[in-house]
Amino acid sequence: MSELIEMQNISLKAAEMVEEGRVHKDLYSDPAIFEEELDKVFNNTWVFVGHASEVPEAGSFKTAYIGRQPVILSRDRKMNLHVLQNRCRHRGATVCEARKGKTKAFTCPYHGWGYGLDGSLRALPKPEEYDGVFDKNELPLESLRVETYQGMVFATFRDDIEPLEDFLGGAKKWIDLFMKQGGGYPVQVLGEHRFNFPGNWKIQLENTTDAYHFPIVHKSFVTSLDEATADIFDFLDGEGFVEDLGNGHSVMVMIPQLVDLEEDLDQPIPARFEQLAQALREEGKSEDEVKKLVRAAHGTGFNLNLFPNVSCSMAFFRVLRPVSVGETEIQHVALGGEGAPVAFNRKRMRLHEHFQGPMGFGTPDDGEAWERVQKGSMAGTDGWILVNRGMNNLHQSKDGNVAGAVCSETGMRGAYRQYKKMMAAGEEK
């Protein structure tokens, strides 16, 4: 009897696999736990679906996922944002397969049911067979709750959870800082890289708050930089830190001098940005604007990890999607400034290509390490993953949060604490 109860309480089992400082390796590989995660984490919290600049005009849309569920982010004629389940209310086909675009309506290819940008069912062929059966108003595309912060669009299936801004809490200050990298222009999505790796989503979640790996895994990237830039990336002995921001969010400050891109604008132009500076001068920008844009072109010196699926990572958004227990899709979304000088946005794209995406100088080495973690976690019948680095050296941040050294695993512990809370929910009784 007790054995039966234990088998049904899979999620409690997962919650028990998270201890302060270590997590059980089965969290990476148990398919039953993965199913529970979709239900208890991804279907139960605010999930990032895109940036407002990706749907700039009335009629703009992009497709996205919340966990395994396909959704559409759309902007209606009144410029309101909607996140709609991508499933026709008739027989269930997706009504939109394009990655992004502009449209007046979403039409199901199967029987021609047509939906507006707000999801309302507008028309369907031969409607008389439904007279007295249902009213069109009853069958819109099902919509999710949507809220935004600084152009970042989040959606949730839950109407009863806290507002987005409360959920983001201490992370909001860091999002504000992150958005300064438009160089005085609104941050705009310039494109994205997409790749996948054969491993669990939490391996990626951990990675953007893991400075410890940087000089090891990314040695070949650092070697490819000029000396001054390579020095900037030599941050493990610096003044950086990782701060637990609550609700699973954390910030890892690697390069403290690049936290606020609107400060220290009198710094000389670094050699690797001299060409950009010259191009901006030739576009007629004043020396003050040139310095502001050059500093913004660096991106910020921190990674802000937002639980569960997005990171504002130095100069780009890293968005993860759990596909299966052993497969994860990742988008590296490049950012620039809307209306910013051409030379600025070009430089931002070239910098993104240098490190990010499946052919960057950084990502393939990360991917190799993650693949090895997934593979290695299969060794042994029982084993733990350590996330206890820096537990002996914590302090309180200016904002009153727990913080550790830049290469501590403070951010991972914060994320796993939130994970444990969500996985244990409803199982306490």
């Binding site: 990655r99 290509e353 393939p364």
Partner: protein
């Protein structure tokens, strides 16, 4: 355009030579095939042709090509060390423009990579802009249009 069997033969020879260098990791010799202004481009968005103002998977000028090769050769990259062999097949070669200063050609490529014991396949259209010189062709531009550029790719630690 008149059929020019000799030019087509020269283009096919060059494409085969370049492909052989890349499969056999003759990267330094590969670097010497380029003009100083040459661009190696792997687009992320197949609908775009303004590559400089678009995010690409790779957009390498001479400096970036040199750094990419250094990364693959210097033993510091764990993914480059782990990459197995690649075998690429180039076919369906067609000369699109036969100028005196620039020859533009297109072909089909299927690149197979052995990665941790598994085969990964990359079908692509490849476009070459070739500059005729006294030493044969130099690469002015090479654009590798992966069939699944738009999808979720595996990471790449070799040169297409």
């Amino acid at each position: 355009m008149k059929s020019n069997t000799q030019l087509l033969a020269q283009v096919i020879e060059f494409i085969g030579y370049e492909a052989d260098l890349l499969d056999h990791k003759g990267y330094q010799e590969w670097l010497s095939l380029w003009t100083d202004s040459g661009l190696y481009i792997v687009p992320a968005d197949l609908k775009e042709t303004d590559y400089l103002n678009t995010l690409n998977l790779a957009m390498d000028d001479a400096d970036m090509r040199r750094m990419r090769v250094a990364r693959l050769e210097n033993g510091e990259s764990v993914s480059a060390i782990s990459v197995g062999e690649t075998v690429r097949m180039m076919s369906r070669v067609r000369v699109l423009e036969a100028g005196d200063d620039l020859v533009i050609a297109r072909c089909a490529m299927t690149l197979n990579e052995l990665r941790h014991g598994k085969l990964v396949t990359y079908p692509a259209n490849v476009e070459y802009s070739l500059k005729p010189t006294a030493d044969g062709f130099k690469l002015e531009q090479k654009v590798v249009k992966l069939l699944h550029a738009d999808g979720f790719l595996r990471t790449v630690s070799f040169i297409f």
